[in-house]
Symmetry: D2
Amino acid sequence: MTICGTDLHILKGDVPEVTDGRVLGHEAVGTVEEVGAGVKNVKVGDRVLVSCITSCGSCRFCREGHYGLCVGGGGWILGHLIDGTQAEYVRVPFADTSTYPVPVGVSDEETLMVADILPTGYEVGVLNGRVTPGDVVAVVGAGPIGLSAITGARLYSPSHIVAIDLAASRLEAAKQFGADVIVNPANEKPLEVVQSLTGGLGADVAIEAVGTPAAFELTVSLARPGGHIANIGVHGEPATLHLEELWIKDVTITTGLVDTSSTPTFLKLLAGHQLDAGRFVTHRFPLDDFEQAYDVFARAGETSALKVVLQRA
Amino acid sequence: MTICGTDLHILKGDVPEVTDGRVLGHEAVGTVEEVGAGVKNVKVGDRVLVSCITSCGSCRFCREGHYGLCVGGGGWILGHLIDGTQAEYVRVPFADTSTYPVPVGVSDEETLMVADILPTGYEVGVLNGRVTPGDVVAVVGAGPIGLSAITGARLYSPSHIVAIDLAASRLEAAKQFGADVIVNPANEKPLEVVQSLTGGLGADVAIEAVGTPAAFELTVSLARPGGHIANIGVHGEPATLHLEELWIKDVTITTGLVDTSSTPTFLKLLAGHQLDAGRFVTHRFPLDDFEQAYDVFARAGETSALKVVLQRA
Amino acid sequence: MTICGTDLHILKGDVPEVTDGRVLGHEAVGTVEEVGAGVKNVKVGDRVLVSCITSCGSCRFCREGHYGLCVGGGGWILGHLIDGTQAEYVRVPFADTSTYPVPVGVSDEETLMVADILPTGYEVGVLNGRVTPGDVVAVVGAGPIGLSAITGARLYSPSHIVAIDLAASRLEAAKQFGADVIVNPANEKPLEVVQSLTGGLGADVAIEAVGTPAAFELTVSLARPGGHIANIGVHGEPATLHLEELWIKDVTITTGLVDTSSTPTFLKLLAGHQLDAGRFVTHRFPLDDFEQAYDVFARAGETSALKVVLQRA
Amino acid sequence: MTICGTDLHILKGDVPEVTDGRVLGHEAVGTVEEVGAGVKNVKVGDRVLVSCITSCGSCRFCREGHYGLCVGGGGWILGHLIDGTQAEYVRVPFADTSTYPVPVGVSDEETLMVADILPTGYEVGVLNGRVTPGDVVAVVGAGPIGLSAITGARLYSPSHIVAIDLAASRLEAAKQFGADVIVNPANEKPLEVVQSLTGGLGADVAIEAVGTPAAFELTVSLARPGGHIANIGVHGEPATLHLEELWIKDVTITTGLVDTSSTPTFLKLLAGHQLDAGRFVTHRFPLDDFEQAYDVFARAGETSALKVVLQRA
């Protein structure tokens, strides 16, 4: 299993619906020990991915593939409304539609990256932003989610991916994950860089992967007329939307929680060896050392941690 | 030819790039008196619709059907950057790609409604909002543009169109144009009405046809999780975007100027007698009385004017 | 419940996987008498629509909305691989994802038309054919499925629907269901009629609702360059595809069994009183008279039967 | 400039509308020597790509991006209805919408591959076939067009591309261009290979790049239920369409001539160094030796020629 930036938000108290004593964690790969009476396809002994999103499979949103909006008892519930995956055992409701077999020939660690981070960058950033071949894509924020968006954008062969971040180490990671151009706003104006690549027009797709009003407003400013702005960041306060400029500019702004509807896509890409998901994992700890794991992950600026994996003995 | 709400904005000084002495007007039907050397398909004597958007036909945006974003000398230029249609004669640049033959069996007045108003409601409201059969569609503002959005939404067979306006006369017009439910926010809460029709979820598509921060924020609040918010209104100031609620709600917000790429669609619908465009026309004046025409149009609240047609003698 | 043309095919022996003694029928509205242990959302006493397609809800096709392709034990099984609905009681597997509540204020008979016929014409004809506003749509065959395709096409506001059939009574029905033009190939050439409406180009969308090579080849010939050809008919033999003409013509040909993924759309349209589904029902019999009912339905040419409803006492 | 397989068909007499004495060739990169009065954007001295498709820019098809269907005097006319590019000078009608500037930093040879071959494989094979990440894509025929389809499919990150051809040298080329699996039907059954990769279902997308009934029928048989079949091959005779199997299988079959609407996409990818187009060029000759060039190209089986470039002195 692994730790998500959201877990840190919970510990700070930003997610008040999480009650005291709740077991956190919404990403795991494990072995099925027991199944409930209504489960048809998952069997004891199966090696499965536990997705961050639980899907009831029968509500209108689940039937449309919008599992993140599930109104039948699913959605993001693990490590949030019910006990999560940072434990020896976890109960996963609606197992038939909320777990996936680990593909033959794919490691647990690679599969684990499909529990949340890869689908989030891809669905909420790349698919919502409708990246197409030849596009110039700007990604604001190069933490794990921004790097997932870069990874996902690569699948659609843009002409240039521009990564923007204030931390040199994150920009370096962005390069390794496939960014063609990196920009530190402390040194260069992101808009000027993007304009220089696009004949002055702006990015075809601009992706927000930070979660602050300033980052959102920067992202909006980078999109060209007719462009797409995809918000992935988790926001705690409103932003200003400059409609006096945007009304005539034909932009599309999207928001969203991941649905994990792209899970089968990623499992097929991993099984076909078309994607290197393992490079997200920078640190590994036994489950018993999870306080240390949280500490390393919380100090990502110093430790350069991307994903920290906790392994059961 | 006819008068647009935008012309009133220009007279108030809201569109500073319009210089003194400029002939206004960007909607007309007329007869071709002369053609330039580069014109291939339009001939002297043709009866044509002059679209509010001029298209160069060869820039990247025109080739993608985004004529409103034309960077080759077109876009919205008539009655804005060059002299417009409220005159006896008007020069229309790029005539091959900026005028359309009046269909056989269709009146000039009906065709005139395709110059701006019908494509605007349809493209910027209905197509951007992706209305599909069975949807609940909320339209905020029931002036000419809101009524065009209602007319356009009807083409996709929603289950309910909810029109929201403060003026009783506009709500009455909305009913006649096809709204199933009308709401005056002075008497009822729009969100409650929309929720009562949607099992508490909100509108599938919410369309802004006013152009104020308050109307935009109301429109955003009406959309369901996974819903679409389409802004048509012309805005002069920023709005607040409640990202702290929206980030998890999977909404899509669009803005845009009309492209008039749907002009052929409307001309086919009119030729097939599938649409009653004539009902937009509430007043008619000879061209010589155009001061009176502007006065009636400017006092739409009292005169119930929707579109005011100016006719050459 | 009702009888489908497919039931007649079964009786003739055209569907060999149906074994002797099988109860036929795959369309019904009824009251839930008992539910299995795994059922979560359907309760005893609920009034529900039983869809012709059973969906397991968890296989890859069901999760993509392609219930007709279900590989988890569903698909078209009722009255085919297991006992069907032409009985006092029927067991419906996967009830949570294969039945739908009858909407408040909608009659059983109207709802019954959503079990098969309306979604089939709409999904396999109209959505696969991508009908859009202003299109000219040709429908070859004006039996119940052709009329469903006409009904579905109307939801997207084409400029003209052209219905083609050899039976005058069916053409008359087509007019009442919304065809703008009717053509009897015994008297007129369908291609010439379609060309006269389209400046010589051909139909934007051509829909096959018969199920013979001749009808398919006629349908293909009616589509314009860039047009869509949607096959709904059940075919028993191959057709000739004139690739020597089609390779350069940019056509799209689709086939398919219904998924009934549009069931919620139709239930919303019926609840909003936007659709008259009742007019499909031409005859009603008590369940005890079902031999007579089959006889009337089988002799549709004489009896003008569209849908024949069987009612439990 | 270069030679296309179509030129060989013309020489054999397969394209009867080409009259005696016609200069062949529909692919070129060159310098503008003179421009007509109606040309606005192309200037003497510009280095431009001459596309195989000429676009009038104002007919309905050109305005929809379907330049290949142009009814305003364009379409495929160069080296077909008017003199073509295998000459020292060529007149290109509608230059503003039929030529493209060679991007800075991109070689003439790479740009030349965008005149026909790359857009053809991409638009008619990959976009029509709607390849998406994770797909299994089968390509029947590994000549220059099949290799273009493989190149284009790579842009959408399939999990596996399966190339099928009878010539070992072409299968070897397919590997180098990005096929993951190669199949020679003389040794293995293509359907079995495809099924082994897809849990028995078949390919998500099957692309025909040969132009014979047998190849088309093989391609159709490889697609899974719900899959897409994209025909690129030029056909001279009809094929058999097994509707008795396909009617229930939810397949989509597309045909088409290239539009070259993807030309800007390819020029952006080349400018961003995201694509190696140069590897298509296997032979180069001075223009004076063009008989020898034709000979090498016509004997591609022996010479392993893919694209043969003719250079002006």
